[in-house]
């Protein structure tokens, strides 16, 4: 399971650096939330590998556990009610779950950084953005204020904020949404060797012309400083734009994993196929009057049984689906699917024309 992209020709625009070196390895992570109504198993038996310099996207709908997965890595899960039940998260060989709080904090500021969906709530409103970025340098690298502040201006320039020296003196509310997100990215880069950037829906709150620019910025930066990116999104368009490899999640479980071309060309899980078919921009709908929607709704995580969580919405469902969660099926070239009936899937692109 750990060896994949090696066999694939490096044609992806994001391909560079050594892909084989493993940066982060999550194994068998289980995260639960203990709430009044019961236990929510937000992430189940999840394993992930992020290689150096690669962009891994976690894609799925609300409540599928993609943010919880990200928060497990830098341990931002509120405990209680949350609990990491089992598993390990190895970053450069060290198990993050066994580190002391102070060690984790040091790592968060220097190697694993995070950008959030809503930059207005993630930035501190009473400090200028320059101060906030400088603060990272001062606390983690023991820099003097003046040096840290000029470093902050350099970073604002790196993320292409116009007139960075003046903007560094602006408060978050004085910046537009796109500029705030750039400032957030600058803050995430405020370390000597950024290894992994976790971006949790970084463009969801932004307009589409701004989104395009932020995505461009992220791919440029990734090339420039050879960091890895864990990108969390619900938008298959963003996946198509950014991903090297894709993990599709549904109701807390990984259901398919493959490189981005395999996901779009040969989706093997009915849910992945359903997601692609739900996109109005899918070229198959050029002359069609209806979308092929996935019927039904996401199940309640509190009452989820042991079977495949997608069973109640799946067109290919069989008896076994409701009882047993499927084993991983290795389709070669790093493509893995968790489905009992993946062989039956119908990928024909011709919908009934109106």
């Amino acid at each position: 399971m750990t060896e994949r992209s090696e066999n694939i020709p490096n044609t992806e625009p994001g391909a560079h650096g050594s892909k084989n070196e493993i940066l982060l390895e999550m194994e068998n992570i289980n995260v639960s939330f203990y709430v009044q109504r019961g236990v929510i198993r937000a992430v189940k038996n999840l394993s992930l590998t992020i290689h150096k310099g690669e962009t891994l996207t976690l894609v799925g709908e609300s409540g599928c556990g993609k943010s919880v997965t990200a928060h497990t890595i830098n341990q931002l899960i509120p405990m209680p009610p949350g609990k990491i039940e089992s598993g390990s998260v190895k970053y450069r060989g060290r198990d993050l779950l066994k580190l002391k709080k102070s060690e984790i904090e040091a790592l968060r500021g220097t190697q694993i950084s995070m950008i959030f969906q809503e930059p207005m709530t993630a930035l501190n409103p009473v400090f200028t953005v320059g101060e906030q970025i400088a603060d990272v340098f001062m606390s983690h690298q023991k820099m003097k204020h003046q040096e840290a502040f000029s470093k902050a201006i350099e970073l604002l320039d790196l993320v292409k904020i116009p007139s960075p020296a003046e903007r560094a003196k602006s408060y978050p509310h004085q910046l537009s949404g796109g500029m705030r997100q750039r400032a957030m990215i600058a803050m995430a880069l405020a370390s000597p060797e950024p290894g992994l950037m976790i971006a949790d829906e970084p463009t969801t709150a932004l307009d589409v012309t701004i989104q395009a620019q932020i995505l461009d910025l992220l791919s440029d930066l990734k090339k420039k400083i050879n960091m890895s990116l864990l990108l969390i999104t619900h938008d298959m368009g963003v996946v198509a734009e950014m991903a090297d490899r894709v993990v599709v999640m549904y109701a807390g479980s990984k259901v398919e994993e493959a490189d981005v071309y395999q996901i779009f060309d040969e989706p093997c899980h009915p849910y992945t196929l359903g997601l692609l078919n739900s996109l109005p921009s899918n070229p198959k709908y050029k002359n069609s009057a209806r979308l092929e929607a996935i019927e039904g709704t996401v199940p309640d995580l509190l009452t989820l049984g042991d079977g495949c969580p997608f069973a109640n919405r799946c067109t290919y469902v069989s008896e076994i689906c409701a009882e047993v969660f499927p084993q991983a099926v290795d389709l070669g070239k790093g493509h893995t699917v968790w489905c009992h009936n993946y062989t039956k899937i119908d990928r024909s692109t011709n919908v009934e024309q109106d």
């Binding site: 589409v208 012309t209 739900s278």
Partner: protein, 327 residues
């Protein structure tokens, strides 16, 4: 795709303006105007789905609300079936509002959390005195069924439903009085993509059945492209381009429309290597719109005249118009 005959103008909008007054904070309080909708004219023909697309702050939602007189206009006129909406008094307006309805973006805040679903959907029927309690109750059950919800759920509260189901409740409420014209304001934006597809299909099914006319407001170009028959692109209060859907997809002339189409991520990883980068900065504040053409500071084609005056709307081909000096 032949939906209905499209000869009658259902809605005629002429030079519609909606300005909001804002007071700046600070010591020197200063009154300024946000020109949310600025001189917009268009018609909607019966049975048509007019998509309105633009980024936040472009005035698309204000336009939708002003067209239904949920906002009073600043200037201009809105004729619904030839009758001026803004010339009506409250009683006359009530007769018209039966036929014009709205579906809102946020299915969480647009339903009263303290009322049962049956009561929410039945409210328009009670306000307009459409039958006895028993008749209304029967109609509510029918409406729930029509939007794909179990009629037994009528005694539940909104929080007991998922986002997609709540949006169905909002749709049922809009259908209650059997309207002709429905404004959908970002009706699917808050939904997950698989649920979004269900709701889009539902809106189209309902349109086929009841011959509705929709004004479909969204920021998501793919959704607007899919559902609309005609598309209007808005930028900072103005209409910058309008054309039939297929025409616009093939030829988007205005530099802003081009940027919008270019920025929209295609559902195909193979496109990304060839995709042109857009470098155009951020949307300016609607309070401080740039002079001349509002798009000129971000426009790659801007010339000196673009800074001086706003370009008039020009017809490029029949049914296709754009407001740009250069192209």
């Amino acid at each position: 795709m032949n939906r209905i005959d499209r000869n009658t103008d259902l809605l005629q909008v002429h030079g519609l303006k909606k300005y909001f007054e804002v007071t700046s904070q600070g010591i020197h309080k200063e009154k300024r105007e946000v020109k949310a909708v600025d001189d917009v004219s268009f018609t909607i023909k019966q049975g048509e789905i007019l998509g309105i697309v633009g980024e936040s702050g472009c005035g698309k939602s204000t336009l939708g609300k002003t067209v239904l007189r949920l906002h009073e206009k600043t200037n201009g006129s809105v004729l619904y079936r030839g009758k001026d909406l803004f010339a009506k008094n409250r009683r006359e307006m009530k007769d018209i509002t039966r036929n014009i309805q709205m579906i809102f973006q946020d299915p969480y805040s647009s339903l009263n959390p303290r009322k049962k679903v049956g009561s929410i959907i039945g409210q328009p029927l009670r306000i307009h005195k459409q039958g006895t309690t028993a008749e209304i109750s029967k109609r509510v059950e029918h409406l729930l069924d029509e939007v794909g919800l179990n009629p037994r759920y009528r005694g539940r509260y909104p929080h007991q439903f998922s986002g997609g189901q709540r949006q169905r409740i909002g749709i049922a409420r809009a259908l209650a009085l059997d309207p002709d014209f429905i404004v959908c304001d970002e009706a699917v934006s808050a939904l997950d993509v698989s649920v979004q597809a269900q709701i889009l299909n539902l809106l189209l099914d309902l349109q086929d059945k009841h011959k509705f006319t929709y004004m479909f407001i969204a920021h998501d170009l793919a959704v607007v492209e899919f559902i609309s028959t005609r598309i209007m692109v808005m930028y900072l209060g103005r209409m910058v381009e309008m054309a039939d859907k297929d025409d616009l997809i093939q030829r988007h002339i205005h530099p802003y429309s081009r940027a919008l189409f270019k920025a929209f991520p295609a559902a195909n990883p193979r496109g990304r290597a060839s995709r042109e980068k857009i470098v155009m900065g951020d949307v300016p504040s609607p309070i401080d719109r740039p002079t001349g053409c509002h798009f000129h500071p971000r426009c790659p084609l801007a010339e000196s005249r673009c800074k001086e005056a706003y370009p008039p709307l020009r017809e490029i081909s029949p049914g296709h118009s754009a407001a740009c000096w250069v192209v």
